[in-house]
């Protein structure tokens, strides 16, 4: 099993979710997060006072998939989260050692 974490632009979440659904990915967790990479922050002005906002709002999704689905899922995220502009985000893939469905006690890929 592989765990995929992706940081994406918030408005791309729906599109990425649809694409992963179409691949048969059974579920995911999404977070509203803040962060910065090469895009860096921006400046906001309140009554003439300028504030540099370093952390930009992003969405982080996490999903665990069977090994054979991992490459396709990664490719789907990259395709559907892309705008071609700076700040599109990143995808990280890890090995996942175990998974349990709490209600039934199923383990491994059956739990996904």
């Amino acid at each position: 099993m592989k765990k995929i974490e992706a940081i994406i632009k918030p408005h791309k979440l729906e599109e990425v979710k649809e694409a992963l659904n179409a691949l048969g990915v059974a579920g995911m967790t999404a977070y509203e997060v803040k962060g910065y990479g090469r895009q860096k922050g921006h400046t906001e002005v309140y009554r003439g006072a300028e504030y540099t906002v370093d952390f930009r709002p992003k969405v982080k999704i996490e999903l665990v998939v069977d090994d054979e689905l991992a490459a396709k899922a990664e490719a789907a995220i990259i395709e559907h989260a892309s705008t071609g502009k700076i700040g599109d985000g990143k995808v990280f893939t890890y090995d996942c050692e175990g998974a349990v469905r709490i209600r039934t006690g199923e383990r491994g890929p059956e739990a996904l």
Partner: protein, 405 residues
């Protein structure tokens, strides 16, 4: 006894409720501008004034402001014949029952005290704040109201202040300046991020202030008559014009018109027209709005130039706007509106009276406020201690959290 006019009475009853509603409006206006950890303490600074100042007004404030001027100190404070609102029941003021007049005026005392609190938001002790505004409303607000409206020396000289440009806005801003200086800057001022945490709240607050201001200004005619109508018109037009000029300057300087700029500009225009509302015509009101919006846009940068942390710009908006409005009242007062000509109609002498009113108000309010703040600082301490400021005043001063998510 003069006759009670039922139309006037019902109008002023409604206006009293409108003026009261400005204070929770102010709580929203100020509350949105602070960080989320101080939303409740900032709200309390306005809302608590509704409780405290009302009781103080009934006990002593009203008689100091509107007691008879016949006593030896009559030019400065009213006599004490109305302590505890004694002698108001059954009396008539103008064409309305005196209890209605006393309640209408009491609502002004509340909002004026609440306005000050923007200066020391996010760092003052609740106890020090409460003692300060309570004493201030007795020692500063009530005498000032007497000077200008209660038959005191400024009224005798002929200075014009229709609804409180000096008494409310300049007085609260002078106290705010003293407060900002004595209590000191917020931790991290100039370095940390003091982004407003909820601007929709601030805009709603500005809208409620605008709505309530019709009671404030039109109601200051103390009758449901043409003067109330022209004051209503002037109030509305000034707020609108000031929003436009503030945004125009903002757009030129920073490239974008901001929501906070629209709200701030409207409030600045409301402040600017407050002394003038019952003395000027509609086109003069638009000019007053345009000028006030522009001057206050630059007024808010005073604090960074002079290095005091007036957290929510009480000085920049209410002090600068109130001063501009008081002086422009002297310029644009029209005989056709309320029988008093201003500079443009050849009465240059009025300008001097307006200037005296402004200077006397600033000097009196600033001096007494400064002494009060210093005394509190030396005795119970003005400022929250330790890491209370980092934790936020909601938790450290009130044992509450504004947003539970």
């Amino acid at each position: 006894m003069p006759a009670i006019d039922f139309g006037d009475t019902s109008f002023i009853l409604i206006c009293s409720a409108l003026v009261l509603f400005m204070t929770p409006g102010l709580a929203l206006f100020y509350g949105g501008l602070v960080r989320s950890k101080n939303i409740l303490s900032t709200t309390m600074h306005s809302f608590f004034a509704m409780g405290l100042i009302s009781v103080i007004w009934a006990l002593v404030g009203y008689t100091i402001a509107f007691g008879s001027s016949d006593g030896p100190l009559g030019a400065f404070i009213g006599s004490f014949d109305h302590i505890g609102l004694a002698g108001t029941i059954g009396e008539v003021t103008g064409t309305i029952p005196t209890p209605v007049f006393a309640m209408f005026q009491g609502m002004f005392a509340i909002i004026t005290a609440a306005l000050i609190t923007g200066a020391f938001a996010e760092r003052i002790k609740f106890s020090a704040y409460a003692i300060f505004i309570g004493l201030w409303s007795i020692i500063v607000y009530a005498p000032l109201a007497h000077w200008v409206w209660g038959g005191g020396w400024l009224m005798e000289r002929g200075a014009l202040d229709f609804a409180g440009g000096t008494v409310v806005h300049i007085a609260s801003a002078a106290a705010a300046l003293a407060g900002a200086i004595v209590v000191g800057k917020r931790k991290g001022f100039g370095k940390a991020n003091f982004q407003p945490h909820n601007l929709p709240m601030t805009v709603l607050g500005a809208g409620i202030l605008w709505f309530g201001w019709f009671g404030f200004n039109a109601g200051s005619a103390l009758a449901a008559n043409e003067l109330a109508g022209t004051a209503f018109m002037a109030t509305h037009l000034s707020a609108s014009a000031a929003m436009l000029s503030w945004l125009a300057f903002e757009k030129i300087q920073h490239g974008k018109a901001t929501t906070l700029g629209a709200a701030s500009g409207a409030v600045a225009g409301l402040v600017g027209i407050t002394p003038a509302a019952g003395f000027v015509g509609p086109m003069a009101a638009i000019v007053i709005g345009l000028v006030t919006g522009a001057v206050c846009y630059y007024g808010i940068s005073l604090k960074s130039k002079f290095g005091f942390d007036d957290a929510l710009d009480v000085v920049g908006i209410h002090g600068v706007g109130g001063t501009v409005g008081a002086l422009l009242t002297g310029v644009f007062a029209a005989e056709a509106i309320n029988g008093v000509p201003g500079l443009l109609e050849g009465n240059g002498a009025l300008m001097l009276e307006q200037l005296i009113g402004v200077v006397a108000t600033i000097a009196f309010s600033f001096t007494v406020s400064y002494i009060l703040f210093k005394l509190l600082d030396k005795t119970i301490g003005l400022r929250v201690e330790g890491d209370a400021e980092e934790i936020g005043l909601d938790l450290s001063e009130h044992n509450e959290t504004g947003y539970v998510l």
